[in-house]
């Protein structure tokens, strides 16, 4: 739960940076340092495609705000009806030694539950999709070792191809190969390899749009090549640094009162 979807936009946002004789680490660092909006509000449609060919749809409202030392985020389900109103509130601290604060509101129980941070949860499925919570956030660059593998074209865009290997070998997908735009340092594609170094999942980012000066991928597709499933996250109504994100949204009372619409 430490990272959320809104931050993925941050990771994908470009600035005009130039690279010369960059190492793998330099490239990933530049992508990580791309400026991000202070606040973000959006609506996302999550499509979960099963091996049998059936689709499940989830819709969520997402809002986030960067307070400097902490990023506060809230996610509220609107579809399906069974879980509509269920909300997550997360405070993610800059300080790596400080655990995030998490609350879950369940409308059927009329109750907000405090949820502890858990090391294993980051690799758990994000809302039943092929994405994990960690996929949705800005993974700390100190977690991996980087090697520049070369250059490759993705969807017509020249990209650096960087090998990222986790320093902790306990992760489900300890190796990733990222494709980062040479000109804009935007992530275009990512391949995830499991502990047996077999290709596990492939992320592709498409439908880029510039919103308030921030370039954002509006459609993300995560394909699990081993299970044959895939998930789509289609984002709409994106507003950066707008008035729609009030401080009062990032409170337990807003979850309980259903104020986030």
């Amino acid at each position: 739960m430490k990272k959320t979807f809104a931050l993925l936009g941050t990771f994908l946002i470009a600035s005009a940076l130039f690279a010369q004789s960059l190492t793998g680490y330099d490239i990933v660092k530049k992508a990580d340092e791309v400026p991000s909006p202070k606040t973000s509000a959006s609506v996302a449609k999550l499509t979960i495609h099963s091996k049998k060919g059936t689709d499940r749809i989830r819709e969520v409202i997402m809002k986030s705000k960067d307070y400097g030392d902490v990023t506060k985020e809230v996610i509220v389900f609107t579809t399906p009806k069974d879980v509509a109103g269920t909300g997550y509130l997360m405070f993610d601290y800059e300080d790596e030694n400080k655990d995030s604060d998490n609350w879950l509101y369940m409308p059927a129980m009329k109750k907000t539950r405090r949820i502890a941070s858990s090391g294993t949860e980051a690799e758990g499925s994000f809302m039943g999709t092929d994405f994990t919570y960690e996929d949705m956030g800005d993974r700390k660059i100190s977690k991996d070792d980087y090697t520049l593998l070369g250059e490759e074209t993705v969807d017509g865009v020249e990209c650096y191809k960087v090998d990222c290997v986790s320093k902790a070998h306990t992760e489900k997908d300890p190796r990733r190969v990222v494709f980062i735009g040479k000109e804009d340092f935007i992530l275009r594609k990512c391949e995830f390899y499991d502990r047996q170094n077999q290709l596990h999942r492939v992320l592709t980012c498409t439908d880029f749009a510039t919103i308030d000066g921030f370039t954002t991928a509006q459609v993300l597709k995560m394909e699990n090549v081993q299970s044959g499933t895939y998930s789509l996250i289609e984002t709409k109504d994106i507003v950066y640094n707008g008035a729609k994100v009030d401080d009062s949204f990032f409170t337990v009372v807003a979850l309980e009162r259903g104020n986030i619409r």
Binding site: I48, S50, T54, R56, I57, T79, P80, K81, D82, A84, F91, K98, D99, D101, W103, A108, M109, K110, K111, R113, R114, I115, A116, S117, S118, G119, T120, E121, E123, G124, S125, M127, G128, T229, D247, S248, F250, T251, V252, V253, E256, R257, G258, N259, R261
Partner: protein
Amino acid sequence: MKKILLFINIFLLASSVFAETEVSAKWETNLGTYFPWREGGAEMSAGEVCVKPEIDSYWGSSSLYINGLIAFDALAMRNTSDLYGNAIGTPCLGCRLNEAYYDYNGGWWAFRAGRQIVQWGAADNFTVTNVICPDDNSKLSGSDLNDSKLGIDALRFSVNTSSLIADAYWIPRFTPSELPLSKNNPLFKKMVPQTVDLSEAGLGVLKINELSDTNLNLPEFSLKNGECGLRLSSFYSFADFSLYGFYGWEDSPFVGYDVKTAPAVIKVEVAPGVFMPVPYNKPDSIDLSGIYRRFGMIGADSSIPVGPLTLRLEAAFYPWRHFAASAQSQMQQIFDYYKTSGKTEGAGVTRTERHNQIAGVIGLDWMASDLTVSVQYYADYVFGSVKNLERENLNQQVSFSFSYSSPDGNLEAGISGIVEFPAFDSVIIPSVSYSVTDDFSVKVSAMLFNRGVREGSYSRYKDLSSLNVCLSYSF
């Protein structure tokens, strides 16, 4: 039928007045059977079809929320006056307004008026501070809170800051808990004994008559009979804290036992070999009645994240609370009166005793990506002598819950239960739920009541162990 039409009109009116309206509903079919090894065999334990409409409307800072229930109970076990009118024991269609409230959000303050369900406390399953809403005791389980808790007609005024919530409630009209009064409801037999043995008094075994709505003495609807509650909650990085206060009525009645007499004639020997008939009132059966008593509660809870665990604490103090005198104790008082006065009527029976009580829960939760584990320890203690009560000074229970959710969220399986000490009786609830589509799901669950080393709160229901299937469709 008039009630149902009124119900539908409220929904239509609400949806037309407010600017943005979301209408949804859930259809549910609940079928259940008792396990065949019980006395009475594998009879059906549930047969209900429900539609649960819901409206959520908002306009500016105002919003309106309505959530109701329209149900057909083929077994006629439910009896609520809201739900099934007076058709006790007859399968019929009924409806109930679970919640219907207006909200105004003024920023740092807010106001809510109408029927609302309120949940207090950090504990699951155990009632410590969660006393503001009455329970639906007419059945053993509910699929969600709207089935197990009844709404209260209340006004709520709130003050909110980023880390503090203060809610003050005024409940002008008392809502009692739902009782299993229907003749077809097996829970009724568990609530009170069927007969009482007064052979020692020469009265034989007397039948206990049924309790009905007309024997329940509800508090009159007046200002002085209102209830009030207060909740203060604050949220910090290291922990969440809440304080609670409540002054109101016990939701369930205290049952009183009164001897009912019938005219009879006894032959009295007035001279050797000469008998004269003398009319008298012979004890015939026992009448039940219910009275409601006031009580107060102050309590607190806290949720503290500790690494991968969440520690939950909750405690409450109930000063000078009423406790029901046992049936045996009440009958003994009547018997003593009968012996000394020769009369069976007019005995002054003490129905309740007052004692201080404390209660608390300590719980731990652990959540991994697909697995949730929760354990809780509950204890409550009644001060003073309890020899006339149907309980001991200390009551202890342990609950557990393991649940698994598949990565795609379609399959959920779990097992939960409560064990009571020192009786060691228990209830175990395994369940599996599968979402066939986003809108259609099937849930199979069982409720298994088990004997312990002696009779306890759960072993009383051992004949009611059941297997249930619930189909639900949201639209």
